[in-house]
Symmetry: C2
Subunit: 190 residues, 2 copies
């Protein structure tokens, strides 16, 4: 029985965090939505933050799956990375919980929401880092610091996808790929 109850709590909490964000979700509300007494929640999760983290962990797994699916071992590093990054940023752009959390970070800066998005970003960087290491081993990339490379690649990708369109007209998926390849892979120097 307790598995059902736990899942029902997770479902209720997911809905509420997605709808109202971290701060505006109350434990009473989650209990009501899950049809359990409030005390029951605390038999599965030691506090609100841990319940939240469980759900964030799920979201990050989803994002990782999206990235993973983009990898075709027969394809080039660049093609794979572009598909993976585009997919995962698209996921983040459309995933309701991620949307709500970044709104909450912008508007009230809730620490738990900041931390959640940091973890998501960290997961993406780790994924890129792994791909970079593979590509270096397979001589597809020059030898480099994989951590710094992953960090910069994500920064550049986010700049192209999110930041550029704050002042100029958005780039298409193809333009993003072309620019990413031009600046990062080939380099602008002669």
């Amino acid at each position: 029985m307790s598995i059902d109850r736990k899942q029902s709590i997770i479902n209720a909490a997911t809905g509420s965090f997605t709808m109202y964000g971290y701060k505006a979700t109350t434990m009473d509300q989650v209990a009501k939505l899950a049809n359990v007494g409030k005390g029951t929640i605390y038999t599965f999760f030691s506090n609100k933050e841990e319940l939240f983290n469980e759900i964030v962990r799920g979201m990050i797994l989803e994002a990782k799956a999206v990235a993973e699916q983009a990898i075709d071992p027969g394809d080039t590093f660049f093609q794979n990375l572009h598909r993976a990054l585009y997919g995962v940023l698209d996921f983040r752009k459309k995933h309701q919980l991620a949307i709500k959390l970044s709104q909450e970070v912008r508007e009230i800066g809730t620490p738990a929401a900041v931390e959640a998005l940091n973890q998501l970003e960290s997961a993406i960087t780790s994924f890129i880092e792994r791909e970079v290491k593979k590509a270096v081993q397979q001589k597809e990339l020059k030898p480099c610091d994989p951590k710094l490379t992953a960090f910069l690649m994500l920064k550049i990708y986010i700049s192209l996808v999110f930041d550029w369109e704050k002042k100029e007209s958005p780039l298409t998926k193809e333009e993003i790929a072309a620019h990413f390849e031009f600046y990062v892979m080939k380099g602008i120097g002669l």
Copy 2:
């Protein structure tokens, strides 16, 4: 006489904006510091924001001068750009008004402070854009969209100087130059 009064108001306001930020600086306070009646301020500046903009304009001119001084026509594009960017970001890191304004943006998001920092960033991007155009003409760089190139270069530079040290140990000036050259100029692809 009125030039003296205007300058005295500007000096007082610069001190106050630097010390307390935009929001916490009051027109009464500026009047007291400048030894003028409050009404006098409004004979030179139509409101608080215009007074602030005048001072921000000064700061941006200083930053431009720093960038300009870094340019040696006999040197390479990359050497010039690195010196200019490092100099201007160092300026921003040490200039008391810029420090106070970015703190104010972080903590309360005052629109006038946001706008001021945007203008500073915009001035830097324009400077880079001009240098990129020159370098393309002189065949030092591949043909490219100068605006997008300048935008990305600044993003990458800021990432290396400010963002990387949020999670890892800061990079030295030489490391920053080396990485910037490696990733942007030469490219990571084989």
